[in-house]
């Protein structure tokens, strides 16, 4: 399938910092896939997202979205195709009501009013918030606020949605809810998802994981290959999957354990077999 995102040799430096925030960053993302970008704080994840939206201007390198190179001329076209949901649900509201807030981006693009009303309604319905259209955003729960922020993105009918740690400030129930919603929207709207995350469950859903460290891409691979690194993952800013931690502990306890990644269910199966052969 075609690459919807093509980043080549991207470089970025913040004026007040000596070390570049991004160095020779190159990767491709297939249309319709889910990519997780992981890395500890300060590794360049959010800088990368801001470059992809043209919020920061790269020092060198190119970013192509659907074959279109990001430049001063194309930045508005590209922003119409790429939506972003930020970490803090409280810092991304501008509207007095939920519906106003979802409409804000469309107003900016001068979408005709009848079409705008339709798109706002459809977007709120898609995230399950149509009943809240006239509520004040301030009175919603964290998970509901992120739903509204996602509706704002969906209303723009983008091809790509970037989640910049969008679930990290939610409680476990809210987090699960938002991840499930993104999965559903991705399938329904044929979106490409780029999720910048520290959450294992979110990263596990990706087709591809890109690991950033000190502004460089240090690894790319499927969740299974990345998760098989076990405790080495801690330095990438992710938790070590529970099954990997138990596996390492059991290896240390002298039990014969395989080197490949196993999900929790896989590990249960393995331990059951081990027990029945004793």
């Amino acid at each position: 399938m075609a690459n919807i995102i093509d980043v080549k040799d991207l470089e970025y430096s913040y004026a007040e910092q000596k070390a570049p925030a991004l160095q020779h960053v190159s990767f491709q993302v297939e249309q319709g896939s889910w990519v997780a970008v992981i890395g500890h704080n300060g590794s360049g994840k959010s800088t990368l997202a801001k470059n992809m939206l043209g919020l920061l201007e790269p020092a060198a390198g190119t970013i192509k979205i659907s074959g279109m190179e990001l430049s001063e001329e194309t930045v508005w076209q590209i922003r119409a195709r790429v939506g972003i949901v930020f970490q803090n649900p409280d810092s991304q509201f501008v509207g007095a009501t939920v519906a106003d807030d979802v409409a804000f981006g469309l107003e900016n693009r001068e979408v005709p009013r009848p079409e705008m009303l339709e798109r706002v309604e459809a977007a709120l319905k898609a995230v399950g918030m149509q009943e809240y259209a006239n509520r004040e955003p301030a009175h919603l729960s964290g998970g509901q606020k992120q739903r509204v922020a996602i509706a704002g993105v969906v209303a723009q009918q983008p091809d790509i949605i970037i989640l910049d740690e969008a679930t990290s400030m939610l409680d476990p129930a809210g987090r699960k809810e938002i991840i499930a919603l993104i999965r559903e929207l991705k399938a329904k709207l044929n979106l490409t998802v780029v999720s910048i995350t520290h959450d294992l469950d979110e990263a596990a859903l990706a087709d591809q994981i890109i690991v950033l460290d000190s502004g460089k891409v240090v690894e790319t691979g499927t969740p299974a290959t990345i998760f098989a690194r076990g405790s080495a993952m801690a330095k990438f800013g992710l938790d070590v999957p529970y099954s990997e931690r138990v596996k390492e502990d059991l290896t240390a306890a002298g039990l014969p354990m395989p080197n490949t990644y196993m999900s929790e269910e896989g590990l249960v199966d393995y331990l059951w077999t081990l027990r029945s052969t004793m």
């Binding site: 476990p172 129930a173 306890a253 002298g254 039990l255 331990l271 059951w272 027990r275 004793m278």
Partner: protein
């Protein structure tokens, strides 16, 4: 210093059509020296409970005894200040409360507010900043030039500088990355080991199993269970009914149990699980 709740109820916006129950006949004791965790799903009354711990809210009925102070609905709002010093609160996303031009001034603000002379407050600031694991070089910096995790540590130092007898933490690791979360939990474990009484509100059941001495479970404004993490996490069905999760180890052990593994007591921490598996599967010393 202990905190005791005796049949405490709290009604929000009492006497209006908006009235809602925050706490419903809650009796409990938080013992000095303990590490107590409070769990419950969003809206269960955890935050309302928390705000009674230093009389930010006063009970609508019943009594809250904080050390030797008894708080009832009739308690005057005067003279509550000493309680605020004895029970230090670290609210969610505490870094949003930083305001001073330097870390040193921000951390020293609390003790100065309670009448500690400036020189002494600065010494306390220096000590608390070291306690939360930040280098002395941050003292002169603006708190707004620090990373999110560092800012949160500064906010916690600000509470520690008031030398509270009880440190109350409302989801102190929310929004931090995994390394930040681990460091933060180890910081509290160290403070507890040094004698600090800790009350932790959290959604992270693993942290409860790994660190707490006692757990209080809230649901619909009621205290529905209390005990050691071992006791509280034994009954998976009961927890699910109250919209609560299990520690990772306990849910993994349940999967093993369904496949014929036997546990006398459902393991709650990784260490317990590995020990139990070693006896069932053998290990290096088996041969």
């Amino acid at each position: 210093m202990d905190i005791t709740f005796d049949h405490v109820s709290y009604t929000y916006q009492a006497g209006t059509p908006m009235a809602g129950i925050g706490l419903d006949d809650v009796s409990l004791r938080i013992r000095g020296g303990d590490y107590t965790a409070i769990i419950g799903h969003t809206g269960s009354g955890k935050s309302t409970l928390l705000q009674h711990l230093n009389a930010l809210l006063k009970p609508s009925a019943g009594t809250v005894t904080i050390g030797d102070r008894v708080i009832t609905s009739d308690t005057s709002n005067k003279n509550l200040k000493p309680l605020r010093q004895k029970v230090g609160m670290v609210f969610q996303f505490a870094e949003s409360q930083l305001f001073e031009s330097s870390v040193e001034r921000d951390v020293a603000f609390g003790p100065q507010n309670f009448g500690v002379p400036a020189a002494e407050a600065l010494a306390l600031a220096k000590k608390s900043v070291a306690q939360v694991g930040l280098p002395e070089t941050v003292l002169a910096k603006s708190p707004f030039d620090l990373s999110g995790g560092q800012m949160r540590r500064v906010a916690i130092a600000g509470v520690l500088a008031m030398q509270p007898e009880i440190l109350v933490l409302d989801e102190p690791t929310a929004g931090l990355d995994p390394a930040g979360r681990r460091d933060m939990m180890q910081l509290f474990a160290k403070l507890h080991a040094d004698g600090q009484t800790i009350v932790l509100v959290t959604h992270q059941m693993d942290d409860v199993a790994d660190y707490a001495d006692r757990v209080l479970v809230m649901d619909q404004g009621k205290l529905v269970k209390s005990g050691t993490p071992q006791d509280v996490f034994q009954d998976a069905d009961w927890l699910t009914a109250h919209q609560l999760g299990l520690p990772h180890t306990a849910s993994f052990a349940l999967k093993l149990q369904a496949r014929g593994f036997k546990f006398a007591h459902l393991p709650q921490t990784e260490g317990e699980l590995i020990a139990a598996l070693r006896t069932q599967l053998g290990g290096a010393d088996h041969e």
